[in-house]
């Protein structure tokens, strides 16, 4: 019983919420990109450069917030590069995304070595501090689980209703969704398909960068090589499992984040449970969802296809 309470406790829940946050940011960004018709495989890369930029920015300025701002800017640049290739040059989105992921791995490792030295101890910066939400933080159980986190956790959660509103209650949302399903309709209305997709990609990159910054500034306050280690791909899975909806994406991220916390806990306590099972869980669940076994999730119709005005 004592082992069980050591294992399944409020810390695990809190860790799950923490692990879900970078996924929520990145997956929410990807919702904008995919809803506008661009499949951004480069999500992993945008998160990774965000993690490094956030760390470096906080190191230079001493402020985690300025670091996070830099991370968003650099992430948006990654979105812009994808846009130039995938929208303006009409290159294959997957090819460019793959290249950007390798580029991000190279450039962050390179800069880390150049700026912080080859074999030095990991440099720590001042990251985000947990906020005190008054009586909420003092609640038994719910307090430590949900109300003692760093501010970015609440930013991520706040972005969900905001995104729901933007995507489903504003004309901009209609335009974004129309562009993803039927870009010719957007074009016929006299709106620019490239413009809509560029803006969506900038938002996507900035949010992914912020998710990356959470990894380096919201948990350990340091940067290690390839620190995202596939979280961008989990976020891609969360978009599908969340059926391209902000609320669904939040729930998927929470589930996947909890699975991540679970496998860390199993490893940390040295329990004789295979910790690779929770690691696999997000991908298995997503495949099951794709196969339509738990209610079909449908992707935007024009997803992944460059728009050619002159083509019929």
């Amino acid at each position: 019983m004592s082992t069980l309470s050591q294992f399944l406790n409020v810390d695990l829940l809190a860790a799950g919420v923490r692990m879900a946050t970078p996924l929520t940011f990145a997956a929410l960004g990807e919702v904008y990109a995919e809803r506008s018709g661009v499949l951004n495989i480069g999500l992993e890369g945008a998160m990774l450069v965000g993690a490094f930029a956030g760390f470096w920015g906080a190191h230079l300025t001493g402020s985690a917030w300025l670091g996070a701002l830099l991370a968003m800017a650099v992430g948006a640049v990654m979105g812009l590069i994808l846009g130039v290739f995938a929208i303006t040059l009409r290159a294959n989105q997957i090819v460019v995304g793959v290249a950007l992921n390798i580029f991000a791995l190279g450039v962050t490792s390179f800069l880390r070595t150049v700026v912080f030295g080859l074999n030095t101890d990991p440099v720590q910066v001042t990251g985000f501090q947990p906020v005190n939400l008054g009586f909420l933080s003092k609640l038994p159980f719910a307090g430590p689980a949900f109300f003692q986190h760093v501010p970015l956790v609440y930013v991520a959660i706040l972005l969900i209703p905001i995104s729901n509103f933007i995507l489903f209650r504003t004309s901009w949302g209609v335009v974004i969704r129309a562009t993803g399903d039927n870009p010719r309709a957007t074009d016929t209305l006299g709106l620019s398909v490239p413009e809509v997709r560029y803006i969506s990609l900038l938002v996507c990159g900035a949010l992914a960068g912020l998710g990356g910054a959470f990894l380096s500034l919201g948990q350990l306050n340091l940067f290690v090589e390839n620190m995202t280690s596939g979280r961008g791909y989990i976020a891609l899975a969360a978009v599908i499992f969340g059926k391209w909806n902000p609320t669904g994406v939040l729930l998927a991220s929470l589930l996947f984040g909890f699975a991540d916390a679970l496998q860390f806990r199993i490893q940390g306590l040295g329990l004789p449970i295979p910790f690779h099972i929770p690691l696999m869980l997000p991908y298995i669940l997503t495949l099951v969802a794709l196969g339509g076994f738990v209610g079909r999730s449908r992707s935007p119709l024009a997803l992944g296809r460059p728009y050619q005005r002159e083509a019929r």
């Binding site: 460019v96 290249a99 490792s109």
Partner: protein, 351 residues
């Protein structure tokens, strides 16, 4: 795309990438010329260096072929990493059981095991695409991680060698090991496996009816369908065989280099292979050259870091920029060619 462009574009990509990275090297106070010389020296400067280059090239080559084949059929295999790892664990199983088999037979059997392991991991997304219309891109990404973590589960769990503190499996039987290319060489026969596959794949794609149909399916699925080609089964089998080729890439790492499955044995060969396959224009001969380019960068990067003081991670930047510049040059050439084409009248002009 014209034949000339398909040779020219990758070269433009590589030259432009090396030029941009030279500026990067200069910006950290090192000499670009020195760094590139050391890179070359580390990759080709001695017999040992050349062997290392070829050892690094082999899994990249096989995994990239495993992407090139489905690419010709119009399917994008992002799952080479998972297929490679499944191939590795299957090859280990083949090399671990049946210890009484004679040498060459046992080795061949272990290779076939690797092929089958990868092929299973390629067949599933191929089948799901052909029969249920699921995006092979998304499915292979998911299958990658399911495969990687499944292999890790066995390496940490049931197949783990308890004597060693580092998570790795037991050793395969010596009869299953790939032979070395010479008595005093570290180079194993994996590169031969790769070269055989290059020749076989080139022959299949450009000298057989099946290859022709496969390429038509890739270029224009509607035309293939109206011609009565078995589009669905072609896509399924191209993915399965592609997965098998990537699986062979994992198998030769285990049978030739490690002789056991070591946790994290693949430094992302399957992901890099996507870039290799694309830089090689999805053609077996092109893939051969681009895998040699990537392999030499990996092999030479250590010397570059030690002697010239440029971090090894530079090679990732070189590789990704080469791909991006190639994509850009193809796009620019295509757009220019299109705009140069004379307008045939009002029908071509946007309303």
């Amino acid at each position: 795309m014209t034949r000339r462009l398909s040779v020219l574009a990758p070269l433009i990509g590589i030259v432009a990438s090396l030029a941009v990275c030279a500026l990067l090297i200069k910006s950290i106070g090192a000499s670009p010329l020195d760094a590139y010389l050391r890179l070359f020296q580390g990759a080709f400067g001695s017999w040992g260096a050349i062997q290392t280059t070829l050892i690094k090239t082999s899994p990249l080559l096989l995994a990239a072929l495993g992407i090139a084949l489905p690419y010709q059929a119009g399917a994008f295999n992002i799952g080479a990493e998972g297929q490679l790892q499944m191939g590795a664990i299957f090859a280990f199983v083949g090399g671990f059981i049946f210890p009484d088999l004679p040498g060459p037979l046992h080795m061949a059997l272990a290779l076939v095991f690797g092929l089958v392991g990868g092929a299973i991991w390629g067949f599933i997304p191929g089948y799901l695409k052909a029969r249920h219309g699921l995006s092979e891109i998304i499915v292979t990404i998911m299958m990658n991680y399911i495969g990687i973590y499944s292999v890790a589960y066995f390496v940490y769990g049931p197949l783990r060698d308890p004597v060693n503190p580092y998570p790795q499996t037991f050793e395969i039987a010596p009869t299953a090991e790939l032979p070395r290319m010479g008595p005093s060489l570290s180079l194993h026969a994996g590169i031969l496996v790769g070269l055989i596959c290059v020749v076989a794949l080139s022959w299949f794609l450009w000298r057989t009816v099946g290859g022709f149909k496969l390429r038509v399916t890739g270029l224009n699925p509607t035309a293939a369908l109206f011609s009565g080609y078995p589009v669905r089964s072609q896509v399924t089998w191209a993915m399965a065989i592609g997965g098998g080729l990537a699986g062979l890439g994992g198998a030769i790492e285990i049978l030739g280099v490690y002789h056991r499955v070591v946790d994290g044995f693949s430094p992302g060969y399957g992901y890099l292979a996507i870039a290799v396959a694309l830089l090689g224009q999805g053609k077996p001969s092109g893939v051969l050259w681009s895998s040699l380019f990537f392999g030499s960068l990996i092999a030479g990067s250590g010397v570059m870091q030690r002697v010239a003081g440029v971090p090894v991670s530079l090679v990732y930047i070189v590789q990704s920029l080469a791909l991006l510049f190639m994509v850009a040059s193809v796009a620019v050439f295509t757009i220019r060619a299109r705009s140069r084409r004379p307008k045939k009248g009002a029908a071509d002009v946007d309303p």
